[in-house]
């Protein structure tokens, strides 16, 4: 588990807390850069779009949904990383998750926030977005709970709430550690954050039970959230979208994309925060095996989708399939297949699974492929619906590309703020993997 020998308990505290307690100019420059990119590439174009209208983007009569929604689905997909790693591997008592799960959960939370932003960008009249929430009002009007988008609203609200609570509760003992290692305002702040945690056996007992229940609640929630997001598409009667396989397809794709995201984030944490001691080969190896398994499942589901579209013989389906495979966006489609189905097969070889640089490259390629996949779903199904007279074409505009870039900057900003406020690696869980403090150990 530890490549460079086991640290002592005190060293664990020092290493992990030093990221929070000491800040150099490099951090501020990086934070400043990501915030500027976020403002210039995301918020300013969005402001322009709010004034002028959604027409500033590239959507048209043939594709009412564009990159805003495909990005939304990409970010929700990325958010499944934390749930998988943190909750599922907690239930299965996996030891290697202990150093990586906190950052994975943070990724979940911030991906969800970015995805929520994309919903706002997508709406035509976003100043009325509160109408889609079941808030009592003097009009006596309620939202339409039969709508797939309302399932979305409920699911994502629940997921955001549950993820925030999940990560916060898991961090309470670490907030106590920060409190004890700091002075002044920070100490006062973390006294409040940690609720006065002392680490008594009673508190650990309660936290352990509550945390397990959170994990048990969050796992089916994550599965349901991305199924519900897929039903935004699958509950339409559009030929390329109306497939029952969409729910498992999207959930598998989400976990796949999220796990690839974790590999990328682990690389960055290791490199920039000097966590080489805590995130080692065994984590990379296990994440690699997980990615490989997920890529095989993903490829299988893709083949299923193609096969069942073709086998059904419906002229509408065949037209949509033809456009997907051989139309204008065919290069993107085959690029997606290459990056998500074939490139990950390299992870069968130990040489690839144990090399940090190679895994970084593979994980980035997988996520590029997954981003493309969401775009393909949106851009190639809508222009080929039923009436040939109404076929058309969709190409993203400069404002959409800019907002896509800006969203990554927003995610990076949130993550940078996170590493200064919450210990990026769980202190007490890492200690659990060390030798116990016994005389005979």
């Amino acid at each position: 588990m530890f490549d460079h020998g086991q640290p002592s308990y005190a060293e664990v505290n020092k290493d992990i807390l030093s990221v929070m307690l000491e800040t150099g100019p490099r951090y501020w420059m990086l934070l400043g850069t990501t915030m500027s990119v976020a403002v210039i590439f995301f918020f300013m174009p969005w402001f322009y779009q709010l004034i002028v209208g959604v027409g500033a983007a590239g959507m048209n009569r043939n594709a009412y949904w564009g990159t805003y929604l495909s990005n939304f689905i990409f970010w929700i997909g990325l958010s499944h990383s934390g749930t998988l790693l943190s909750a599922i591997l907690h239930i299965t008592n996996s030891p290697w998750r202990k150093s990586v799960y906190r950052s994975a959960e943070a990724m979940t939370l911030f991906s969800l926030m970015t995805a929520a932003l994309f919903v706002m960008v997508h709406l035509g009249r976003v100043w009325f977005v509160h109408w889609s929430f079941p808030i009592p009002n003097q009009m006596g009007l309620w939202p339409n709970f039969r709508s797939p988008l309302m399932f979305d609203v409920m699911a994502i609200t629940t997921y955001l709430t549950a993820s925030s609570i999940f990560i916060y509760m898991g961090s309470v003992p670490d907030f106590a550690a920060v409190r004890d290692a700091s002075t002044g305002t920070r100490r006062r702040l973390y006294t409040i954050f940690s609720f006065g945690w002392r680490g008594t056996a009673r508190e650990w007992h309660t936290l352990g039970w509550a945390y397990t229940f959170f994990a048990v609640f969050v796992i089916p929630l994550a599965v349901s959230v991305h199924s519900i997001v897929s039903w935004d598409f699958a509950l339409s009667i559009v030929p390329g979208l109306h497939h029952t396989i969409f729910a498992p397809y999207f959930v598998c794709g989400a976990i796949y994309s999220g796990t690839a995201g974790i590999v990328t984030v682990m690389y960055c944490l290791r490199k920039f925060l000097n966590f080489e001691r805590y995130i080692g080969q065994v984590h990379l190896d296990n994440l690699g095996k997980l990615l490989l398994a997920l890529s095989l499942i993903w490829s299988y589901i893709n083949m299923l989708e193609l096969f069942s579209s073709w086998y059904g013989g419906s002229s509408f389906e065949l037209e949509a399939l033809k456009f997907k495979l051989t139309g204008f966006y065919a290069p993107l489609y085959w690029e997606m297949i290459l990056f998500c189905a074939f490139v990950p097969l390299l992870m069968f070889f130990r040489k690839f699974r144990w090399s940090w640089n190679k895994m970084l490259l593979i994980s980035i390629l997988i996520n590029i492929g997954m981003l493309t996949e969401r775009f393909i779903i949106v851009a190639t199904s809508q222009p080929r619906k039923f009436l040939p007279n109404a076929f058309g074409f969709y190409f993203p505009s400069w404002i959409e590309i800019s907002i896509t870039i800006g969203s990554f900057a927003i995610f990076a900003t949130l993550f940078l703020i996170f590493i200064k406020w919450v210990p990026a690696i769980s202190i007490y869980e890492v200690k659990e993997t060390l030798k116990p403090l016994r005389r005979d150990a």
Binding site: G53, G55, H122, F128, N144, L235
Partner: protein, 257 residues
């Protein structure tokens, strides 16, 4: 409070609400028939609709980007090469499907089925998710990508009975609901219970030079549309999707060659 009878009506209402197809009987069931044999593709209906319903003038540049707003459009289908071209026109407008895929998509109830069998669009409630447009198989829903304005003096030709829409709002054919409303009000004032056949004429039906379109209440067995619907040429577009549209097309008859 009479708990006994209140409870039984509640239970009965609950049972009724659990059944699909709540409105098994519409008050009026507004239906349109379009005889494709008579349609010449002149697009008079398109112009009339634009005038009647304050359709925005989108402009040439935006039209080229497929951003047009035409509540009724003429679809052209042709077979063969000149001079043996067989051409057909299908005026495509909102079919006001009884099982519309679009109504269930709206998260805020901006589109729903009213008691007259119309698929209504409530502009004030729309928040612009555009899900209804994606779900519509006929692609007859249009979105206000910008707030379109009319240059002087065109704003003087706007119909005062119809609202104008701001950016971010979906719109589509309403079967000229303002004319339906006017006819129903007149019927009520005249102590007549029902609107007579031929009293409600949407703009497109009114303007068609070949009288290819007919509009009326299919609940009334004597109405023109009810008789047209029994024609052997009658069909509905994309009927395999089970959307049960309220527009019945009469197939164009081709001479056997």
């Amino acid at each position: 409070m009479k708990w006994g009878s209140d409870l039984s009506t509640l239970v009965e209402k609950f049972r009724q609400y659990l059944k699909p197809g709540y409105y098994d009987e519409f008050d009026y069931h507004w239906t349109m028939t379009i005889d494709l044999d008579r349609c010449t593709g002149c697009e008079a209906c398109v112009v009339a609709c634009q005038a009647e319903n304050n359709l925005p003038i989108v402009g040439e540049k935006r039209y080229a980007r497929n951003r047009e707003i035409k509540w009724i459009r003429i679809e052209r289908y042709w077979e063969g090469e000149y001079p043996d071209v067989k051409m057909g026109f299908i005026p495509m407008l909102c079919q006001h499907c009884d099982d519309a895929p679009c109504e269930i998509a709206c998260p805020v109830f901006a589109t729903y089925h009213n008691q007259d069998g119309l698929n209504t669009q409530i502009y004030n409630r729309c928040i612009g998710t555009r899900t209804c447009a994606v779900y519509c198989p006929y692609e007859v829903r249009y979105f206000n990508w910008f707030t379109y304005t009319w240059d002087e003096p065109l704003e003087q030709q706007l119909n005062p009975d119809v609202t104008v829409r701001e950016k971010g709002v979906m719109e589509k054919c309403t079967f000229c609901i303002q004319r339906i409303r006017l006819a129903k009000d007149n019927a009520k004032d005249d102590d007549r219970r029902r609107v007579r056949d031929g009293e409600v004429v949407p703009a497109c039906v009114q303007s068609c030079p070949t009288e290819a379109m007919a509009f009326g209440d299919s609940n009334d067995p004597e109405a023109k549309v009810s008789k047209m619907m029994k024609d052997p040429r009658a069909y509905t577009v994309l009927e395999e999707l089970n959307t049960t549209p309220s527009i019945v097309y009469l197939k164009k008859a081709h001479a056997e060659s």
